[in-house]
């Protein structure tokens, strides 16, 4: 059952298409990672889901509520962290937590204090005197200090050190265990890979593909040397084996499911210097964004 659903969702700003015919489904109780370079349309998609903008065409639903027409009801069941979360600088951290928890019927100050403590955040400081990372931690605390069934976070780990990143990913995992649905965007493939159930790839405003990471984790990439062209893959293996690339003597193949059957055929194909590694999100990303191989964390 889809908790979040978009149908041919598009947003244009004048002649510029920020999002084109985006259709996706996010299941309840799952973590959906949204990937794409800057300007791919991630924030536009998220902001359309939050009802901040009117879609040019198509529609978005959260728990069967129209994100634009029923924006208030949607935000009642959604907790949101903007990509560039800015907070009123004149307050102390604790005061700001109180102000934000008071805005939500499910806001929980005690929970907020626990999260702040877990993230080792000094909430007695004025926001204006906090570092960028501390402010981000405070914004994350505000976002997670409630019981909303959907959490949308636009680059939640931006500006944070690796330790805090891991702490936040841990908090998100815990939220999933509580049955919450999570949609988050990130540039960091490893963190998306480590916690997501499904990922979606956006490029130039288009949702190129979505991938189930459980399936992806059972895939492997094999590279090896072969002086002659690779023989035709037998019909019995076409569902498991796919030739990705053959350049000169170098061959790259993708193996889905169990390795054994494919390896026996490859052995007969006189492939040498074989290296097998699990297919990572990075390789999928590189297929979708061949021009952005250098975009790695």
């Amino acid at each position: 059952m889809s908790f979040v659903e978009t149908d041919q969702l598009s947003k244009r700003f004048g002649s510029f298409s920020a999002l084109k015919n985006c259709s996706l489904q996010i299941g309840q109780g799952t973590i959906f990672g949204l990937l794409g370079p800057n300007g791919a349309g991630k924030s536009t998609l998220i902001r359309l889901l939050m009802g901040f903008m009117t879609p040019t065409s198509g529609r978005a639903l959260i728990n069967d509520l129209d994100c634009h027409q029923q924006s208030l009801a949607v935000r009642n069941i959604t907790s949101y962290l903007p990509g560039d979360a800015r907070l009123d600088r004149q307050y102390r951290g604790k005061k700001l937590l109180q102000l934000f928890t008071a805005l939500r019927p499910d806001g929980n100050m005690q929970h907020a204090l626990e999260i702040a403590d877990f993230l080792e955040l000094d909430i007695s400081r004025k926001v204006g005197a906090m570092s960028t990372g501390m402010r981000q931690k405070l914004a994350v605390t505000i976002t997670l200090a409630n019981d909303a069934p959907l959490i949308i976070m636009d680059e939640p780990t931006a500006n944070l050190d690796p330790t805090v990143r891991q702490q936040i990913l841990g908090l998100l995992r815990r939220k999933r265990e509580e049955g919450k649905t999570i949609l988050f965007s990130s540039h960091i493939l490893e963190e998306v890979e480590s916690i997501s159930d499904t990922v979606g790839f956006l490029r130039h405003g288009e949702l190129i593909t979505t991938a189930d990471l459980t399936t992806l984790r059972s895939q492997h990439r094999l590279t090896g040397c072969l002086p002659q062209p690779l023989p035709a893959i037998p019909d019995s293996l076409t569902n498991h084996l796919q030739l990705l690339e053959q350049t000169g003597e170098r061959v790259t193949l993708e193996i889905k499911g169990h390795l054994l059957e494919s390896l026996e055929w490859l052995k007969e194909s006189h492939l040498s210097d074989i290296v097998i590694e699990p297919t990572r999100l990075r390789s999928l990303y590189e297929q979708i964004h061949p021009d952005r191989r250098e975009l790695q964390s």
Binding site: R47, M50, D88, A102, I142
Partner: protein, 320 residues
């Protein structure tokens, strides 16, 4: 809504306290300064400026009374400046300010409707404006009740008709009496000054808020609002400078913003006070209390409504 009002009150308190202190302090001092110059001396000074009477919203005959001079304090540039500072700063913060700071998105990520957010700001701005207007009045009340004025009782004299001569009938020195200012000034007569300042605040606040709803940069919303006020003042000056430009008074909010005129009509001709129009000198028609308040508040509320409609329909731009 309570949480939002609390939030905006906290945000606004520093500006409010500063404005409030300035308003109260200025009115106390300004009314005190009236006592430094007796009515007779003031009459002597003002008769040299007879040519400028057309720039005065009330006849000079009213201006030389203590009531007229106290009423004048409500139309001082400082009073106007304080109210404009408050209303423009709060009004432009409503939408453009929060978008500009980037805090709007974080706020609207919560179950807060745009309508509630908008009208919460309206409430804080409006209550603040009313309190500032009240502080102006209270400053005047405190000063009137704590100051004394000199009354000079000249010895009896006779005037010779058609000659600028006055012959004293006694060689005694004039008697100077110190009387409480409150003997000459009824503070309740200045309630129309308070309410018209409030009404003007509603108008300027509404205009600034409307501009803020359209724009995403606060500095630009402030610039447009201040420019509008200057333009309106220019229209007023032009309108009263030459009779042929008199019609321009219909296009400036400084025409219905007339605290001196309203205090004057309440004291001189109370029957006309609650009418929309009043008949002035030489049968001219001018706005009375109902007209001044209705126009200022009506246009102010209209601006607020337009702003609300625009804000609820517009796309929320990403933080700058």
């Amino acid at each position: 809504m309570k949480a939002l009002i609390y939030r905006y009150t906290l945000q606004a308190r520093t500006v409010f306290l500063t404005c409030g202190l300035a308003m109260f302090g200025f009115m106390v001092l300004r009314v005190w300064s009236i006592t430094l110059l007796g009515s007779e001396e003031f009459r002597e000074i003002i008769k040299h400026f007879k040519d400028f009477e057309k720039f005065s919203p009330v006849p000079f005959s009213s201006l030389i009374t203590y009531t007229g001079r106290v009423a004048r304090t409500f139309n001082e540039p400082i009073v106007l400046f304080v109210i404009l500072t408050w209303t423009i700063s709060r009004g432009t913060d409503t939408v453009a300010g929060q978008i500009n700071r980037g805090t709007m998105e974080m706020l609207l990520g919560n179950p807060v409707s745009r309508v509630r957010l908008y009208w919460s700001q309206f409430l804080v701005t409006t209550v603040g404006t009313f309190l500032l207007a009240t502080l102006a009045w209270l400053g005047m009340v405190v000063s009137v009740h704590s100051n004394t004025v000199e009354e000079v009782i000249k010895p009896p004299s006779i005037s010779i008709p058609y000659m600028p001569l006055e012959i004293p009938l006694s060689t005694a020195e004039p008697t100077i009496l110190h009387k409480p200012m409150s003997d000459y000034v009824n503070v309740w007569h200045f309630i129309p000054a308070l309410t018209v300042i409030f009404a003007m605040g509603i108008f300027v606040g509404g205009f600034a808020t409307m501009i803020s709803s359209i724009d995403r940069y606060r500095w630009r919303a402030v610039g447009i609002s201040v420019g509008f006020v200057i333009f309106q003042q220019t229209l007023r000056i032009l309108a009263i400078s030459k009779p042929e430009y008199n019609y321009l008074l219909n296009f400036t909010f400084f025409n219905p913003f007339d605290p001196e005129g309203l205090v004057n009509v309440l004291t001189e001709d109370p029957e006309q006070f609650w009418q929309f129009w009043q008949y002035g000198l030489e049968g001219s028609l001018r706005l009375s209390a109902l007209g001044c308040h209705s126009i200022l508040m009506g246009f102010g509320i209209l601006c607020y409504l337009i702003g609300s409609l625009v804000f609820c329909k517009r796309d929320l731009p990403a933080p700058i």
